[in-house]
């Protein structure tokens, strides 16, 4: 019933890309100095896990995303719902959000390092900045999408503020909130890599930068592949969480009942 249900298993295009890439490498179309073949990368990845503590870098990046994203989700959802229900708050916060949103995380790096020094903190900050705006904006839209008849039905059934928030406003906003969190998590993942390229001694961004200075191109590509794979998995994970928490979303026109 879902419109965006996959008609092809997502592994099919991925494996096909790897296959074509491998064939092109075998055929000599690709210079292994510039782009190693998938099979060569496989052994590079194994080597990175064994000898370059790749796992440690992965966890360093994931930890930064987890913390920055959690803070962004908590503040973005609360402020977004608040702005969606309160006209004054909305007119106050919206222009500010619109001024800050277009500034990409990378432009914040000098300031972030100046304020927070090196290490985890500037990364938390950049991740937070990247995730906050899509989550805030979509949560606000979610709260605004609550239908007047649902509000009226709730109050005429005796809802007080607490029940209205927990049983009506939040669930009604959840599909939008998840749309925001999916975008936000994607931006978070990009932001953490950006932060680590410059101001960090660990993480996948640092690993790429480190190997770039060693002119170790295969390891740079390993970093990229791992970033892509984890981003892909994070997105899938979010979709799973959404399916568990928004089970009514799969029905056609479910928002107009």
């Amino acid at each position: 019933m879902t419109k965006n249900k996959d008609v092809i298993n997502p592994w099919v295009p991925i494996l096909l890309l790897l296959f074509v890439w491998q064939v092109c490498s075998w055929a000599g179309f690709l210079n292994s100095q510039f782009l190693p073949s998938p099979l060569a990368l496989m052994s590079e990845i194994v080597d990175s896990f064994a000898n370059q503590h790749l796992l440690g870098d992965i966890f360093a990046s994931l930890k930064r995303v987890l913390i920055g994203f959690t803070i962004a989700a908590a503040t973005g959802v609360s402020l977004g719902i608040f702005a969606g229900t309160n006209q004054v708050a909305r007119s106050f916060i919206s222009p500010l959000a619109e001024i800050f949103r277009p500034i990409p995380p990378i432009a914040w790096i000098p300031i972030a390092i100046l304020w927070f020094g090196l290490g985890d903190k500037p990364a938390f900050f950049l991740v937070f900045l990247g995730a906050f705006f899509p989550i805030f904006t979509n949560s606000m839209l979610g709260a605004l999408s609550l239908e007047e008849t649902h509000r009226r039905a709730a109050y005429s059934l005796g809802a007080d503020k607490k029940h209205f928030l927990a049983d009506i406003l939040l669930p009604a906003s959840l599909p939008h909130i998840f749309a925001g969190m999916k975008i936000g998590l994607g931006v978070s993942w990009m932001a953490v890599i950006t932060a680590e390229l410059v101001g960090s001694q660990s993480g996948l961004g640092y690993m790429i930068q480190f190997n770039r200075f060693l002119l170790n191109t295969p390891k740079v590509v390993v970093g990229m592949v791992v970033i892509g794979a984890i981003g892909f998995l994070l997105n899938r994970l979010m979709a799973r969480v959404e399916a568990a928490l928004v089970p009514w979303k799969d029905f056609k026109g479910a928002n107009h009942i």
Partner: protein, 254 residues
Amino acid sequence: MKLEFENVTKNFNGRNGDRPMVVLDGISFGVRESEFFCIVGPSGCGKSTIINLAAGFFRPDQGRVAVNGKEISSPSASRTVVFQEYALFPWKTVFGNIEFGLKCSGIPEEERRQIVYDLAKKVDLEKFLNHYPAELSGGMKQRVAIARSLAVKPEIILMDEPFASLDQQTRDVMQEELLGFMKEFSQTIIFVTHNIEEAIFLGDRVLVLGKRPAHAKALVEVPFSKPRLPQLRNEPVFLALRRDIGGLLRKEAS
């Protein structure tokens, strides 16, 4: 009187600076305890506005709307509403929808479950308690909405064209079912419709409204006792009454 409208006036601000639109212009009527009170009128005449005022969703500009002599100031679970567009919560199952009002009034979980099961059985939905509204037909959705509005044991149920989006057959069945399970409850009902036959078949009395601004054209005592059987719809007295009210409304339209 259970519920009273006294000289109620309601205006809506016109779009782009038009003069305010008068929707209700000093309307008065009273609904008796445990009465099935129907209001029939052409669409756009202000029927939903009457329901919204009685529910407490907004206040009249002039006049008084009172329950048991006390002026209404806000919505309350003692006056529940069944909407034309169902207004079921899509994120709650049938069980969750019926349960919501009970949860709000602080009834313990075990007791809530019992009440929901009993009601679901009455409206023939006990097999669908775990379904989401989007999985149900229009008639089933409206039965959930009726069960939901009954669960909190309101004094008054306000029904705003609840069957208007259903097909003819389903509508007839729903009307008969509604009379059936309302027997067991002693709620006062205000039922708004633009369908004359529906108003006569269900109502103890029918208030006939003219075009906007809504004004009472007639208040008709329906001369049939309850329970009412489906074949009543074809009885000469029923058809004559239907024709009379139709005449009142048609005169208005021309």
